[in-house]
Symmetry: D2
Subunit: 380 residues, 4 copies
């Protein structure tokens, strides 16, 4: 595993727990964690249960005893590491976004496709696909339970920037974070839409903006929790994106990615409206899926709240009995399970780098549309 | 109409509005309202749209041009007025509770049965039966949509006594109010249970109590909104009742009537659990009924929120299009509609006085059970 | 009252009931209802309780004993009737949309402003403003309880066109209906946004479209409930509109008006996100308002479900005690109350014709933006 | 760890994960798992990550390198193992119920108290106390945020016996399962009530019964998932318990434990109503706590849905950022954290064996009350 921030913790938990609940086709060993600083990487290794700590990722991917490389570094280093690892014949799991630019994502996708021809697998970490309710929503759509998709509403709502005096952390500086609400959370809304409907977004029109453009600087050497200083600096990433996309079938999907929806903490929500039913999901109630069957008798129509904790729901039987809830990190185990299975049976795990590239192209098109007065633009 | 308090307003609205939305089999005229004080009765007549005001109810029921008597006085006068009216050949609608004592309710029921033999109709005002969602719940049970009834939970929760300094109004004095939470709101929970399941409560065990036993007295001559004085007086009615009832089928129903469920304003709730499904209703969301169909596929099980506003739902087609909400007073129009229809076609409207009497007997048995250490007692 | 369709029923109920629950400063008489057909107008007069029926509105507005004209005809006749009535010195309540074209709405507004100088009042029927929860939301924003408005999401979702075989009624034909989802329900979303925030939409970008473009024709002479024939005709109004608006303060509001949101029956929803809190309303739960106070302790943050049925909530004290629900038509009584009060005290009731005109201009700009590839356009 | 069924999986996950997210004051090693069958115990050791497997628990507790014994066997062996372990100076975590009889629980409690004098710690596994929302509820009550406790409603609702043809598994046979709904899930409702209110149940009255008394036998040698045979056998444990308890303060708490509440999968719910507010929790939405602050302005009263995922909520800061959900098994980590901390600092972890004993006494009193016609009985 290369990198050991917040995503490192989540991925480590996935690797550690998956073999305890699922029968993996191959044994998994948590071999090496790689970071820049020797000290903090060693601490991470101990804390997260990796056998070794290392500081040079090139050395690690050159090792014969390493089969899988899991990349959880910031987006600007994904391309270099992933391409090198693929070329070294390592299976690669890469945290989303695939890259910070479309060009990099294209190069990575090309590398992934060359590697695939050699039996080397790759996958992007859009983990919310593997929340059981989301996978089950995909299954219901695929089974025709809501008929033809007519319309989609997808939103990812947070509120941690509502306060104009929230400090100017590195996440609000473009050169370090790469992207703002659009790239960071909007990407999930796009991926989930494409995953559940089985359709690509082909054209977009939208607006991306920064609501609060200046925020208090943090004092020197102070982290996220530092006291803000009186001075203010420019916020250089977006904090709100509103856009509309055309799906392959012609249906319209409307999107929102916002960090100003006061009171909404982590509301990745999607509602898919079809000719014969509808589905509604909210990550804040991730163990539930609302399903409306329009073919019921008129007097018995209604959204039903399905607790997605039954034995036959995706991934659920490996865990606890009916009615016992799963949490955020279970998706990371499911990701490990599917990735290891794909490696073992030689299939392509989803989402592929090509799918990750497609999401990057949508993000790119939205930004260009915004710059051109919300003109409709084709996606890549 | 005899009486003109809060219930008088609701009943007047029922009589006024019903003919505008429903095709009644007979024209209805709002003839006379009767009260004790000439002045306030005249004001009520004008405010609520009655043609005349009168102060002697005996004179009014003796009039030939009066066909229907609607009784909305306090419970202690119901028996005398209703029996006289029935004997005078008037159809009688009587607000719940049917009477303050079982003996009175028995006499009224006997009178109602004698009158019925002459084609004179009578009915008790348990209006919540006629909320469309409640009537529809009854229909679903009757149609076998939830299978055999296994268990019932019924509760009526309010919170206006949570504050220990809420004043000692007449409603908290037995000699004036007759009963507390049990008789006033518990009666609705019992009636709704019997209506929806189609079964009587046959035995009970429970506890009735007064949580706050002393409250500030109101200053002299001051009404509900008066300022409380420093002196305190005894609360002489119950403010909480918890009891269990056995239904005819053998199933258990558990009941609660409380004025201490902080934050619950008017939560008459009932959940009926059956062998093939379940129903859940809450008066605070009176346009909705939750329905669980246990025969659905395992992965698609869930309570569905039915908006009971479709054309084919009970009473709804007379009002507004799908998705337009009804409120508290619509039940009073439905009551008028059904009562007038029963008079016109010579059928027995529900709930009959006999049904009202049965509820009184359940209330009585609960109070006796409480006095006997929650012993199980047969109902009447 | 001129016209007597669905809206005629609702307005009649408003006029009939308002004086029974509110103390109006002037007595109201339901004098004349006007329609094209003598027979059906006479039936409407009887059904809805109007003293007379008439077929020539010009004669009626010429009568000295008429003070108020309530217009509930289709939009294409609003301008002619309203202007004539205002010039005849009658106070005018006009159902929304103010008119079918901006030009007509401008003429009406000019007439209203001339009339106002003579003490003649006019008002547009955006009745959802007067749902207590909506008025209370406006009050909370005005009182600063959510701080500065950062963002608005407003949507009006229905599903009666989800079925591609729903028949081609007159509501789907432009020459008769004037507008589709945008004008009919989107107008409410715009008005509610402007009412609650106290801000105008100044610029828009969006897309308006028709998802199902051909539908079965109805057999000859058959109405809404007729059997569909095998032949299909063109749907000539939109059934989906997605747009973004810029408010005066600079905040963005995103809008949706759809008749394809399967399972949503009448979901006029608005969420206003502010720097110190947020509000969320859904017409399908019209007695509730969700309020988030961002100034609470971190551990106690959360949307609270306010039952808007307390004595001090707008309009509520005239009706029932705490916890008793209001329904769809109560807003029509509130509208009467405020209109009569404004006439009596010589103030301008809201929304004025100018406000109605503004909404028309927003609708017009959205349609033009859609025609120009979602380009941003100034509103009027 | 002694035992390795469903609870063994959950406890193993607690021991494995806790040190990765929390800074424990001592390193924890997962040393030995003990079971009856060598083969299945070895499989469990490998699957759940224990270093060794053993079949003789007496040998294991005699080992010097073992400091903690975690008992997850069926209830009938708890007393023997726990007492032996405590006498051997091992710290003991014992899954609930503490024992199958009050006498055993008394002996265990006596042993625990003797051991405590030697610095040996013991604790019962009522893990739902350690769902962050439940712990936070306790904190709010303790801080006076809801004033005096007036009333409690606690219920644990499941539905897996709704189907009369669900087979007669060992869980429905008294000699193997020990108890039915009352002991298995009712115990959680009692413990949570006592934990959150800080009060003991002192007297009870109630009814315990078996709704479906005969069920299809399982074919020979067939487990839970076996096909039912045509023959039926007697269900010898209860499947429904309804009871009322008096708390130390005098407040009444009403309880329900049911396996016939169709559609409710794992609904451990508690609502505590106080003089200044109320709290409502439902395990099916375990990341949420509803809080009602009765001291708010009248127009702003309402239950607020707190997402218990903020940094300052109990246990949360160790996991993920705001808005990321926890699941069922996180409580087992919290249990490990608190137990290890108590061992390290020499304090008494909660719930103590004495608390577990008290719950057993309540259960026992409920059963006796039921046998005596719901008579009120003192608890132990």
């Amino acid at each position: 595993m290369i990198g050991h921030g917040f995503m490192g913790a989540a991925h480590s938990q996935g690797w550690r727990v998956a073999p305890r609940f699922f029968d993996l086709p191959a044994a998994v060993e948590m071999a090496v964690v790689v970071g820049r600083s020797e000290e903090s990487t060693r601490a991470a290794a101990e804390k997260w249960g990796w056998a070794e700590a290392a500081t040079d990722w090139r050395e690690v991917i050159a090792r014969d005893d390493i089969d899988i490389v899991d990349i959880v570094t910031p987006g600007d280093s994904h391309a270099e590491i992933a391409i090198a690892a693929l070329e070294a014949g390592k299976h690669v799991m890469c945290e989303k976004p695939l890259a910070n630019t479309v060009a990099e994502a294209e190069a990575m996708t090309a590398a992934a496709e060359r590697a695939a021809a050699q039996g080397v697998r790759s996958m992007v970490g859009f983990t919310y696909r593997r929340v059981p309710a989301a996978t089950f929503a995909r299954d219901l759509v695929a089974a025709g339970r809501i008929g033809e998709v007519r319309q989609v509403r997808a939103e990812y709502l947070q509120d941690w920037l509502s306060d104009a005096d929230a400090p100017l952390t590195w996440r609000l500086q473009k050169e370090r974070a790469g992207s703002g609400a659009l790239g960071d959370i909007g990407a999930h809304a796009i991926d989930l839409t494409e995953f559940i409907t089985g359709e690509h977004v082909t054209r977009v029109s939208g607006v991306v903006e920064t609501i609060v453009t200046e925020r208090p600087l943090l004092g020197e050497g102070i982290g996220l929790s530092g006291t803000a200083s009186a001075e203010r600096g420019a916020v250089t990433v977006d904090d709100l994106a509103l856009f509309t996309g055309r799906l392959e079938s012609g249906a319209l999907a409307s999107f929102e990615a916002s960090r100003f929806r006061t009171g909404r903490k982590n509301a990745l929500r999607i509602e898919v409206s079809g000719s014969a039913g509808a589905l509604s999901f909210d990550l804040e109630r991730m163990n539930e899926l609302e399903f409306y069957d329009a073919t019921a008798a008129e007097t018995e129509l209604g959204f039903r709240r399905i607790l997605v904790t039954e034995h036959d729901h995706p991934y659920v039987s490996a865990w606890w009995p009916t009615g016992h809830m799963l949490g955020y990190e279970h998706g990371f185990s499911h990701q490990v399970v599917d990735f290891v299975a794909a490696i073992a049976d030689g299939s392509q795990p989803h989402p592929s780098f090509a799918e990750g590239l497609h999401v990057q192209r949508v993000l790119d098109a939205v930004q260009q549309s915004s710059a051109q007065g919300s003109a409709w633009l084709d996606v890549g």
